[in-house]
């Protein structure tokens, strides 16, 4: 009798565990994975300029302002898709910095040439080493960094205006003014 119950019950149990896992997958919001760096300072880095391999930057260029770092690459179609929005936002006065990730310099330059350059500075991370320090999982990603160089938010995936308005704008306003706005 016991054996029978096990034999009958086990497949049904497994099936519903499977369904449960799929349901878990549904509730997951992959774009807002917590970053290990959340509320911690951005790690130190030293990268050269995309436009001039002789010029090196470190973390100090990012300080004193609320900024956004956009990780992009010329081989990444969603990066091209979000680029128009970033151009628009940069025009509105938001400070975007680019991290060109695992790319060929020539390809990246062409890519920016064709689409326009919204970034105040573009750091060139050919080997992706800095990307690993920052916990970059997929391109595109966008980091929100406060004036003290502390990571406040990270979004994985293509930036859209609704994501911008919902996730970034309230946080930026909060960082700039200290006032919490309802999203």
């Amino acid at each position: 009798m016991f054996r029978k119950i096990v034999w009958l019950g086990l497949p049904i149990l497994l099936f519903f565990i499977f369904i449960y896992l799929l349901a878990q997958g549904l509730t997951r919001t992959p774009n807002q994975m917590p970053t290990a760096l959340l509320d911690k300072p951005l790690p130190e880095f030293s990268l050269n300029d995309l436009f001039d391999a002789q010029v090196f930057y470190d973390k100090s260029v990012l300080l004193n302002e609320v900024i956004l770092i956009n990780v992009f690459a010329s081989w990444c179609p969603p990066c091209a898709a979000e680029h128009g929005l970033i151009m628009e936002l940069a025009k509105q006065g938001f400070h975007f910095y680019g991290l060109n990730y695992q790319d060929e310099r020539l390809d990246a330059l062409t890519w920016l040439n064709v689409r326009g350059n919204p970034y105040e500075k573009v750091f060139y991370d050919k080997l992706g080493g800095v990307g690993i320090d920052w916990g970059v999982i997929a391109v595109p990603e966008t980091f929100l960094i406060d004036a003290q160089g502390i990571v406040r938010y990270r979004y994985i995936g293509e930036l859209t205006s609704s994501i911008w308005n919902k996730e970034f704008l309230p946080r930026i306003q909060h960082l700039k003014t200290g006032v919490v706005h309802a999203p």
Binding site: W7, L8, P11, I12, F15, F16, I19, L21, L22, A23, Q24, G25, L26, T27, R28, P30, M33, P34, S74, L106, D107, T110, W111, N113, V114, I137, A138
Partner: protein
């Protein structure tokens, strides 16, 4: 007005599905209680009529939406999201299945179409069995119709502000192959609902005999044929549209269609054993159920947004939740039914080690394992992420290291199996012909091995092994071959051709990405590619840059190719149009990449030997299925008599 008519017809179809289920269920129940074939003819006839009515109203609904697309009625939200008035008529028509709502409507239309076909083929089955079948198909329709009506109404209007212009169809979808790729794939997915309903019916009635298996086979073959064609065309589309020269990417959604294909293939082979030998019955039922489960799972994965993929529809979790609940209810019920009723379905036949039953068993084990590896590779990243928050991606390295060895075994057995006989095979008639084929294949591969790498040699050995054994099979049995046998030979030949195509193109291809300006040339294999010109142009809804690439071999002109880079004006999306010089023995493939400054472009130049054999093989497999479908024994009109 017309969209409202379509919406109303959809609601009516839903009502007919309810009535179909009730009437079919009632007549099946009465038949079960009376223990005779004396059936409540009124409700069984009514079930058939309701089933046909459901199809007709869905057709009206479908045509109404198509009308909205053709007349550019942008007051319908779905039309405005998927179409544009500049779009050529052909793409406005196919725009209907370019998004979630419309493709779901096409899906239920096909589901009810399969149901109507089953309803019309009433004479071949006992009435109670037929009524049960109709009730189950009605229940499936019901689920999907409720899904459309409550979460994804394609007829919703944008009132009072009507957009003047639509947002355009995704340019990637503006391609002839993509007009037919989704319908074929859906026909396959949905077609397995008949096999599923057959399996569940067998569990309910407790009867699964040879005649029933014979009835079930052509439906399964047809569904599998459509799935094959859908996958082949999808792969062909990826090859010439995406511009990467690849034809299979192990993308989660590709895998979602490949899993039911593998199990459907196993099911076709198992049904042969049920029909001929009355064995493997429970396994066939389980396979039929699992195949359809994978079809539903595929739908869930694509439409819920749970996996990230190039195929992702605009998705929202509510829809995902609905499909998941539907999946859990349908498959959970089927599973419980299986565990409860399957012990009643018995088979008591024995067979020797060296018998076709055993070979088909091996076929099933290997195909199921292959399906399991794909399943694992597709869903493991998702599950890992749920438990550990780690994102990983399982790519081609996993699949090629796990999948390829399984396939090698499959192909070895595929060569031997047709030579075997049911029950037992005399060793003499088995070993001699196979040795001849094996030796010939090895000799041929050995000769090839002198000139080409080891992997090519293995590919050639396997491919010719199958082809030689098939030829022998034809020579030995040519007097007594049926359409089914010819179908098997053609499909297996297709598998061999596919194997050669995959193996040879993967191992001998040359891919180069170069930066070129007019006048530059590049050497790829024995060919010289010269960029002779770059000209602007325009089409109905795009502007374009056309490259002229001259290909020469030993200073003789082979052809001139014209790859394009189009920019679609409606949404400013750029897209490459590849140019291919096709050939049975090699493809020359050119795609324009990105502009690298004035008159300088990155250009992809690929030399791909035997790549065309991949799709040729796929088409042969489908042709084999079609040939088997037309076997005379599936066309027996008279009702099989039951006690």
């Amino acid at each position: 007005m017309i969209p409202e008519l379509g919406h109303f017809a959809l609601i009516l179809a839903f009502c007919f599905a309810v009535m179909q289920t009730v009437a079919g269920g009632k007549s099946a129940l009465l038949a079960a209680q009376s223990y005779t074939n004396a059936i409540d003819t009124t409700s069984s006839k009514a079930a058939v009529l309701f089933c046909l009515a459901q199809f007709i109203f869905l057709l009206i609904s479908f045509i109404s939406l198509e009308y909205a697309f053709i007349t550019n009625d942008f007051s319908v939200v779905y039309v405005s999201a998927q179409s544009h008035s500049d779009l050529p008529l052909m793409y406005r028509i196919s725009g209907l299945w370019g998004g979630h709502e419309g493709s779901l409507l096409l899906w239920v239309l096909m589901l009810s179409g399969w149901g109507a076909m089953v309803a019309l083929r009433r004479k071949a089955l006992p009435r109670s069995t037929h009524a049960t079948l109709i009730a189950i198909l009605g229940l499936l329709s019901l689920g999907f119709l409720a899904f459309i009506l409550f979460t994804s109404n394609p007829f919703a209007r944008l009132l009072p502000i009507i957009p003047i212009e639509g947002q355009d169809l995704n340019p990637l979808l503006q391609d002839p192959a993509l007009i037919i790729h989704p319908p074929l794939l859906y026909m396959g997915y949905v077609g397995f609902s008949v096999a599923f309903a057959c399996a569940v019916t067998a569990l309910i009635t407790g009867r699964f005999d040879r005649a029933y298996a014979r009835w079930m086979r052509p439906w399964t073959l047809m569904a599998w044929l459509f799935l094959t064609l859908g996958i082949v065309i999808g792969s062909w589309w990826a090859y010439y549209v995406l511009g990467w020269g690849g034809w299979w990417f192990w993308d989660p959604v590709e895998n979602a269609s490949f899993m039911p294909w593998l199990l459907g293939c196993a099911l076709i082979h198992t049904l042969a054993v049920v029909e001929k030998r009355n064995a493997f019955k429970r396994w066939a039922i389980l396979l039929a159920m699992t195949t359809f489960f994978l079809c539903l799972l595929g739908t869930f994965l694509v439409r819920s947004g749970i996996l990230t993929s190039v195929h992702a529809f605009a998705n929202d979790p509510e829809r995902g939740l609905y499909i998941l609940i539907f999946l859990a209810v349908v498959m959970g019920a089927a599973l419980v039914l299986y565990l409860w009723r399957a012990p009643q379905i018995k088979h008591t036949v024995g067979f020797d080690y060296l018998s076709r039953e055993n070979f088909l068993l091996i076929n099933n084990v290997l195909l199921t394992l292959a399906c399991a590896t794909v399943f694992l590779g597709t869903l493991y990243p998702l599950f890992l992420e749920i438990f550990t928050q780690n994102k990983i991606s399982v790519g081609p390295p996993y699949f090629s290291s796990v999948f390829v060895p399984l396939m090698i075994f499959l192909f070895i057995f595929m060569g031997a199996a047709p030579q075997s006989e049911f029950k037992t095979t005399p060793a003499r008639s088995f070993i001699l012909p196979l040795s001849i084929s094996a030796v010939s294949a090895l000799v041929l591969a050995g000769i090839v091995g002198f000139f080409l790498p080891f992997g090519v040699m293995i590919t050639v050995a396997l491919g010719t092994w199958i082809i030689f054994t098939l030829l022998e099979n034809l020579l030995i049995h040519y007097k007594s071959l049926t359409a089914s046998n010819y179908g098997m030979v053609i499909a297996h030949l297709g598998a061999a051709v596919l194997l050669l195509g995959v193996g040879l193109s993967k191992q001998m291809e040359i891919e180069t990405d170069v930066s070129m300006q007019v006048g530059d040339h590049v050497l790829v294999g024995p060919y010289t590619f010269t960029l002779t010109g770059l000209n602007p142009g325009f089409g109905p809804n795009y502007t374009t840059i056309i490259g002229d690439i001259q290909i020469t071999r030993k200073d003789k002109l082979v052809t001139v190719l014209h790859p394009e880079k189009r920019t679609y004006t409606a949404n400013n999306i750029a897209q490459s149009q590849t140019a291919i010089a096709p050939g049975l023995l090699r493809d020359l493939y050119v795609a324009l990449g990105e502009p690298l400054g004035k008159n300088r472009w990155s250009v992809r130049v690929y030399y791909k030997p035997f790549v065309r054999w991949i799709w040729l093989g796929g088409l042969l497999i489908a042709a084999g299925a079609l040939c088997a479908f037309f076997d005379k024994r599936y066309r027996i009109k008279s009702r099989v008599q039951y006690v």
